[in-house]
């Protein structure tokens, strides 16, 4: 019961700070903290599989992708003059803060992952009743009743992968007197 309020407070507070922060790097780290708290809520709800997936896929993969893009764009502020001045004076301290916060976050997520993996389901769930949410039940449902949706999801991820590669690659302008007939500019 206390855990619910603890995790809920962390989730809501971190989410509020995500949209209140000026520096996107802090926003990404706070969002990871928020997802970690949500993962704790899933463990409390007797859903350890979703909790582990939340940490590994969401906090691990998706947010690292976000962090990559934030670092790649190197745009740690909104485009206003005040922010430019403030960020210029605050840069070294901010970098140290990010390092400490990131380290603490990684340690916290590891502990939480261990907790989710070792916690016995069943009697300690928030709502009474047995553990329906074992990996076996989820897997059976996923591969029988929802097999079609599962396959469609794999196609969706393939399409998203191809789309991301096409969108993110550098556009090469061909034609225009390079020995090829000038035609419509294509993503080549």
């Amino acid at each position: 019961m206390t855990s619910f309020y603890l995790f809920g407070a962390v989730a809501v507070g971190a989410s509020l700070l995500v949209i209140a922060q000026r520096n996107p790097v802090y926003s990404v780290l706070l969002l990871i903290a928020s997802f970690g708290a949500l993962s704790g809520l899933y463990v409390l709800l007797d859903a350890p599989f979703v909790a582990v997936i939340q940490i590994i896929v969401y906090a691990g993969a998706i947010m690292v992708l976000f962090l990559f893009v934030v670092m790649l764009l190197n745009a740690p502020h909104e485009d206003t003059e005040q922010d430019l001045e403030r960020m210029a004076s605050r840069r070294p301290a901010a970098a140290g803060g990010v390092r400490i916060f990131g380290g603490a976050l990684a340690a916290g997520l590891l502990v939480e992952l261990w907790w989710a993996l070792t916690k016995n389901g069943g009697e300690s769930g928030v709502f009474p009743g047995g553990a329906v949410s074992s990996v076996r039940t989820i897997g059976r449902s996923l591969f029988t009743d929802y097999a079609f949706a599962f396959e469609v999801t794999s196609v969706l991820i393939l399409v998203a992968m191809v789309g991301a590669v096409v969108l993110a690659r550098r556009e090469v302008v061909t034609g225009l007197g390079r020995g090829r007939p000038p035609g419509p500019r294509t993503l080549k």
């Binding site: 619910f4 949209i19 926003s27 859903a47 599989f49 979703v50 893009v69 989820i138 969706l156 991820i157």
Partner: protein, 100 residues
């Protein structure tokens, strides 16, 4: 005693925070993070009701939501990269090429 209402309140709080982020922020990366927040708010509801109704289908759908969020993040970040390459900014006020 924690009831599903508690989880719904938490979920709606996160949803509203996400919508507020989409509305208020001008940085397109933060807007994307707010969208992730909205998707997670939905996931809380799915998992909470899965636990309360003793039915694993809610968790299956939560997994689908996570997969769709991953696909959306990949494509969206690709769009952000392409946009930044053209305009050298992440401010969505500059993103007006398709505005009549």
């Amino acid at each position: 005693m924690i009831t599903p209402t508690h989880y719904m309140l938490l979920s709606s709080a996160l949803f509203i925070i996400g919508v507020a982020g989409v509305m208020m922020r001008r940085n397109i990366i933060v807007i994307f993070m707010s969208i992730e927040l909205i998707l997670n708010a939905v996931n809380i509801n799915l998992v909470a009701y899965s636990s309360q109704l003793q039915n694993a289908v809610g968790q299956v759908f939560a997994l689908f939501v996570i997969a769709v969020a991953a696909a959306e993040a990949a494509v969206g970040l690709g769009i952000i990269l392409a946009f930044y390459r053209n305009k050298e900014t992440v401010n969505i006020d500059e993103m007006n090429l398709m505005k009549w």
